[in-house]
């Protein structure tokens, strides 16, 4: 229990009130050490067969907090500790702002609790670590509340929503454990099929709801775009990278262990919710102007895709098509890993851009490509991963997901009607989402980094210190490396989770699915692009005539010579067509302020600004009404405690009469 020892060290340093700079470096280096050992333990866990058990017995017979690393747990432990390692490298070089120093304790508890979630042995320790993760991340979200007052309300939303997820977690586990003998301390290894279906179906439903909240699926995603951006950069990287993966881990656990019964249609529900989440949040991301909120929205979009994958898994299990089901599982795992890596880079690069330009709004950026070469290029690498262009792991994962969706119903004709209609819909949804994701990330890279700097902030941007950029680089390699060696990685995961996808036949670079007659070699695609580029580049070099230095040229300025940055399309202008097409989904509030000439109403003065605030459909339609309903009921309830003693005595009197009559009948 090396982990425990190092965690305690991190805790001690966290508590020590030493000076800012020293403390930041000390805690982050300790976190780094801590997560590095995490990676080591995960690798050991993956390789050796026997499971490491460690049970801390508490009061009663089954109330024991225990750690036992299953294979899947080890895989996710690898993910969590890798993300934690890179973020702590990033945070070593952070300036010791009060926000960072005050939250160093919470940082190490956050990482520890996530490791606890992954390696929990029974339901109770899972919930214990789950809640611990929530509080420590809440403290981190609130760490710089002084600067952003809005993060106060984000904190409120976040805490209430995660409490809702914790409650449904507890209820789900209790309803499942009630179908099982209470004494069984390890809740997920022993049984595949629960005895009486209705109760465990409710349990599975509740658990999926709980993990759905954490992952940010449609009706309950409202807190994610509020909470993730409120945290400092490397914390939101950690949150979007690994905390969301905890939700996915939970989903996989519930689905593989409890999802066996035939009757209930959780699969279809998940696919529908997942597809809607993906489309809804990517549209919101497209028109979002704040960089970090945009990234948080794209997190819930990727989670939507993952939910579709999990839904396919459940449907295929129900259709007894285990090959497709396991492919869907592999796709989900790859997508989670890919998302963790590229989202991490995006948040870190956004953090360094923010620290350089002090603004998060894309409309105020521009021309950063030339000023901040390194962080913009890492951001673009992350963007390639986010959009899923060929050489990236996301591309392979989405390809695998599409293959499973398109093939699972094709074969067995006896499949029920629902998947026949649902799967093509899901494919269309995934395609639309990737399409709009292309628009979103082109907007950031194109508008944000190319062209002329739009504001003085963008003009004065200067590259962030070298050391903060090592971490994103390390993460960047992990987007493309596993994609290139996809054959090896898939075989490794297949053998670890024994999904028996019979992938062992090809080399290390191609992932072929015999049953689906489909195979893909990302290496070949990348190779083609590179050699064509070289050939074409070579030709241009050869034929290019030597030219003398050309005078400064100006693009077409519609008659004007001096062109300035206001000519360029702004970020919101770039995605205005999407806003127009999907306006009933987003119902943007639009207000136009016109400053009028003094003498007549019809002549506008110099400037006219159009503001359009995008509100969240679900928050306005679904959550706010429920909250105001509770308030109304609470208002009426206040009369219960109306102050007059006679009222209170009447309550007691009625209670007495009721009890007497019931007791004596």
């Amino acid at each position: 229990m090396l982990l425990l020892a190092i965690f305690l060290a991190a805790l001690v340093v966290g508590v020590l009130p030493i000076s800012g700079k020293l403390k930041v470096t000390a805690t982050s280096s300790l976190n780094l050490l801590f997560s590095a050992t995490g990676v080591a333990v995960a690798l050991v866990g993956l390789v050796d067969t026997k499971q490491t058990h460690f049970v801390l017995r508490l009061g009663y017979q089954w109330l024991s907090l225990g750690i036992s690393l299953t294979k899947l747990g080890a895989l996710f432990l690898l993910l969590v500790s890798f993300v934690a390692a890179t973020t702590s490298i990033y945070s070593i070089s952070l300036p010791p702002t009060p926000a960072v120093t005050s939250s160093s304790l919470a940082r190490s508890t956050f990482i520890f609790s996530m490791m606890g979630v992954v390696s929990a042995s029974n339901a109770l320790s899972f919930t214990f670590a789950w809640e611990l993760m929530t509080i420590s991340s809440a403290v981190l979200v609130a760490s710089d509340v002084k600067k952003y007052p809005s993060s106060r309300s984000a904190l409120l939303w976040y805490l209430t929503m995660s409490q809702m997820s914790a409650i449904s977690l507890i209820l789900g586990f209790s309803s499942i454990s009630s179908t099982r003998s209470l004494g069984s301390s390890s809740l997920w290894t022993s049984f595949a099929l629960s005895s009486n279906a209705p109760k465990s179906a409710l349990g599975v439903g509740l658990l999926l709801f709980a993990f759905g909240i954490k992952v940010g699926l449609i009706p309950v995603h409202v807190w994610l775009p509020k909470a993730h951006p409120a945290a400092p950069a490397e914390i939101s990287a950690l949150m979007s990278g690994s905390m969301v993966a905890m939700g996915v881990y939970g989903m996989i656990i519930t689905v593989t262990n409890f999802g066996g019964d035939r009757s209930i249609y959780w699969g279809e529900a998940l696919i529908i919710v997942g597809a809607m989440t993906a489309i809804y949040s990517i549209i919101k991301a497209a028109i979002e102007d704040d960089l970090k909120v945009l990234l948080a929205q794209s997190t819930s979009e990727n989670m939507g895709l993952i939910a579709v994958g999990v839904g396919t898994y459940i449907c295929d299990i129900r259709l007894q098509d285990s090959f497709a089901a396991n492919c869907a599982l592999l796709a989900v795992i790859l997508l989670t890993f890919a998302h963790a890596f590229f989202k991490q880079i995006l948040f870190m690069a956004a953090g360094s851009i923010y620290s350089a330009t002090k603004t998060k709004r894309i409309n105020e950026l521009g021309g950063l490509g030339s000023r901040m070469k390194f962080s913009t290029s890492t951001f673009s690498l992350g963007a390639i991963g986010a959009v899923g262009l060929p050489p990236s792991l996301t591309f392979v994962a989405e390809w695998l997901l599409l293959q499973t969706l398109s093939h699972s119903t094709a074969f067995n004709s006896k499949s029920s009607v629902a998947p026949k209609i649902l799967f093509p819909l899901a494919i269309a949804a995934i395609a639309l989402t990737t399409g709009i994701a292309v628009v979103t990330f082109t907007k950031i890279v194109g508008v944000g980094f190319l062209g002329l700097p739009r504001t003085s902030k963008a003009k004065s941007a200067v590259e962030v210190s070298r050391s903060t950029l090592i971490a994103p680089l390390v993460a960047a390699t992990f987007i493309f490396a596993p994609a290139i060696a996809i054959g090896y990685v898939a075989r490794e995961i297949d053998s670890v989770l024994h999904l028996n996808l019979s992938l062992s036949s090809q080399g290390n670079f191609t992932l072929s699915l015999p049953l689906f007659h489909a195979s893909i070699t990302p290496l070949a695609i990348a190779a083609i692009f590179i050699c064509i580029g070289v050939v074409v580049g070579g030709i241009t070099k050869a034929t290019g005539r030597s030219k003398q230095a050309l005078p400064a040229q100006y693009p077409w300025g519609c008659g004007q010579i001096a062109i300035d940055s206001t000519f360029q399309t702004s970020g919101s202008g770039f995605t205005e067509p999407i806003l127009r097409i999907f306006d009933d989904v987003i119902n943007p509030g639009r207000d136009v302020q016109v400053s009028h000439e003094s003498e007549s109403f019809y002549f506008a003065q110099r400037h006219l600004n159009v503001g359009s605030a995008s509100t969240d459909l679900f928050e306005i339609r679904l959550l706010r009404p429920t909250i105001s309903a509770i308030e109304k009921v609470a208002n009426r309830a206040r009369r219960i405690q109306g102050g007059s003693i006679h009222l209170y005595l009447i309550y007691a009197f009625i209670g007495l009469i009721v009890v007497i009559s019931i007791a004596s009948l």
């Binding site: 405690q641 007691a652 009469i657 004596s664």
Partner: protein, 224 residues
């Protein structure tokens, strides 16, 4: 023996109904002493038939307590109010107790309660050991009426009276069901009742000098 208990139950019921009916506090104090007398006499009769001397002694003390001490306390309290209350202002006449229920409604509801008690709890008390257990529902009825008094009277003193009626009801049930509770419980419960009455009296003084009146229904500023 059972004749005595029936007589005692009858007087108890009548006196409670009259308490509900009458408004003036002075007459209710006198009715309370009648109730105490009946109860004490009943207890004394049961203990005599059982023949254990300790029981007899206790029943006599309870008789003394319920018949004389409590009503005395209440009468003394009324005398004090009489001195400093202003007879000229009828609304604040401390002696008359205005209530949410007018007398006829009060009597009708208490009759309803008595009938209900007998109908509902009657069968329960059939096969208990002692012979007089069929009278127990009267005790429960008295408790219910006592509650009615507490929750419907506006004056602080009348709530006190309601509380004493509830306690008499309880001792009556004990008397009828099992001929009185064990000595320790008997003693402790009557001591407690005495203490509560004393405290409530002390508080009525405190209410008077804080609020200037003892009308409970105006106590409204502690609400949510």
């Amino acid at each position: 023996m059972t004749f005595f208990l029936q007589l005692c139950a009858g007087t108890l019921l009548i006196s409670t109904i009259v308490i509900v009916w009458r408004r003036s506090l002075k007459s209710t104090a006198r009715l309370l002493s009648i109730q105490g007398l009946a109860l004490g006499f009943g207890l004394f009769a049961v203990e005599v038939t059982r023949g254990n001397s300790l029981g007899v002694a206790i029943s006599l003390t309870v008789l003394a307590l319920k018949a004389f001490v409590l009503p005395l306390l209440i009468q003394r309290r009324l005398k004090i109010i009489n001195q400093d209350s202003r007879p000229s202002d009828p609304s604040n006449n401390e002696l008359r107790d205005d209530t949410y229920l007018n007398p006829t409604a009060g009597v009708f509801i208490s009759a309803l309660l008595i009938g209900g008690a007998f109908v509902v709890t009657g069968p329960l008390f059939t096969n208990t050991g002692s012979t007089s257990s069929y009278l127990a529902p009267t005790g429960i009825a008295i408790v219910l009426i006592g509650f009615l008094i507490i929750s419907s009277r506006r004056r602080a003193i009348s709530q006190l009276i309601g509380f004493v009626v509830v306690d008499n009801g309880i001792t009556a049930t004990a008397l009828f069901v099992s001929g009185g509770v064990p000595t320790l419980v008997e003693l402790s419960s009557s001591v407690d009742v005495l203490l509560v009455v004393l405290i409530l009296q002390a508080f009525t003084y405190r209410l008077r000098d804080h609020f200037g009146h003892t009308d409970i229904s105006q106590l409204r500023n502690l609400r949510d």
